[in-house]
Subunit: 237 residues, 2 copies
């Protein structure tokens, strides 16, 4: 039996943050001291910290690129709803209430607090930080990135500027780290026009648009692999 060089260690945490308990998880190469560059990963709508898109994101980044990955359940999702995310309509209601009241603000606070705490670990420390968030993970991700200078590169996409959406537009105009943006030409959730508008709004000097045929959840694996490489290379600089 041959064992692969890199195993994956997964640690669950709960962060007390502004009176809220935020459940999260950290993945890292097992049995190695680090420090590891860290990718904060934002999950999509009705998903949770364990169901990122792609599902294999933590394993792929840890095993193939020796990065650490961390994710939290955003409000109304995962452990933060009574039935632990098994009922999509309930998730939708809880989410809508939160988003109308707070927009990206509270989630950005939580991601920032998570990053503060993770940087106290010797395995992370002051290693470089990236962000990965598609679909809803882009909607709140731009709110986080707009005011988070520690993030040096991001993968965004499957999302567009919402119709009135002044906040998202204003946040996007403040995102200036290198961005790899994934767009699906037949996306039934984010229209092409809105997606293009969001991409154009990003202030990043280095931004890459990767556009593929196909629907919202049909991103080709080759695109994910290029996005991994983009992120890993910027985090290594």
């Amino acid at each position: 039996m041959h064992w692969s060089e890199t195993g994956v260690e997964e640690r669950a945490f709960a962060l007390e943050c502004f009176g809220r308990s935020v459940p999260g998880v950290l993945w890292m190469p097992a049995n190695e001291p680090g420090p590891f560059s860290l990718v904060l990963a934002g999950h999509g709508f009705t998903m949770n910290k364990h169901t990122l898109y792609p599902l294999t994101l933590p394993r792929d980044l840890v095993v193939d690129f020796r990065l650490a990955v961390a994710a939290i359940d955003v409000p109304g999702h995962g452990e933060r709803q009574p039935d632990r995310g098994r009922d999509a309509p309930a998730c939708e209601g809880a989410w809508r209430d939160h988003w109308q009241a707070h927009g990206a603000k509270e989630i950005a606070e939580e991601l920032r607090a998570t990053l503060d705490e993770l940087q106290r670990l010797p395995e992370i420390g002051r290693a470089a930080v990236g962000y990965w968030g598609l679909s809803l993970g882009t909607q709140y991700g731009v709110g986080f990135l707009a005011e988070e200078p520690r993030v040096v590169a991001a993968v965004l996409g499957l999302s567009g500027l919402p119709d009135p959406g002044p906040r998202i537009a204003a946040y996007a105009a403040k995102v200036d780290c290198p961005v790899f943006f994934i767009q699906q030409l037949d996306d039934e959730v984010a229209s092409l026009d809105r997606s293009n508008a969001l991409f154009e709004r990003l202030a990043s000097k280095e931004k890459i648009l990767r556009s593929n045929p196909g629907r919202h959840m049909a991103v080709p694996s080759a695109t994910f692999e290029d996005a991994y490489r983009f992120l890993a290379e910027r985090l290594r600089r």
Copy 2:
């Protein structure tokens, strides 16, 4: 930040077995010496070692019950098909060829060889062994269990006796460990009659039928939780 007591360590392996390379993965509590009782988990049709049903099975059993869990890709699935399982029809063809030629025989050999190797690890050793396999994981699972006295308890279900199916029926009649059998009353894959016929055929003196309303992939989480407890309790004896 509060860290949960049990982290999860994931190790990938490749087993050379009768000239075949069998990719697998082992999950265990991180930073603990063990030995841990082991659950071998068989994935379903078009799924793979990382997409067990439920998806959270390894984490649930490791974190909540301090068990180790191992899974392999069966022929035609996961890493064992050219496009790594992304194309369901291709998976179907490769699987059908294999199943017609070998039935459960080769997979049972591979599971046995995997168990042999895992028992050499100090973290596993001679601790108790269980099996979890639903749907297709039951079809080949009974072939494995029929000739594997090391398994002391199993969770099976979402599957029935196939129409001619002499091999599956013969295997089932040799399964005598305690079994927790999951059945869905509106299962569109395994009919109620066939499912009942398979459950009846099992030779186990201790067998529990858990029947719920709902379709194939709509097993209530409470049923999974009871199945975990069933398995964990028998492995503890």
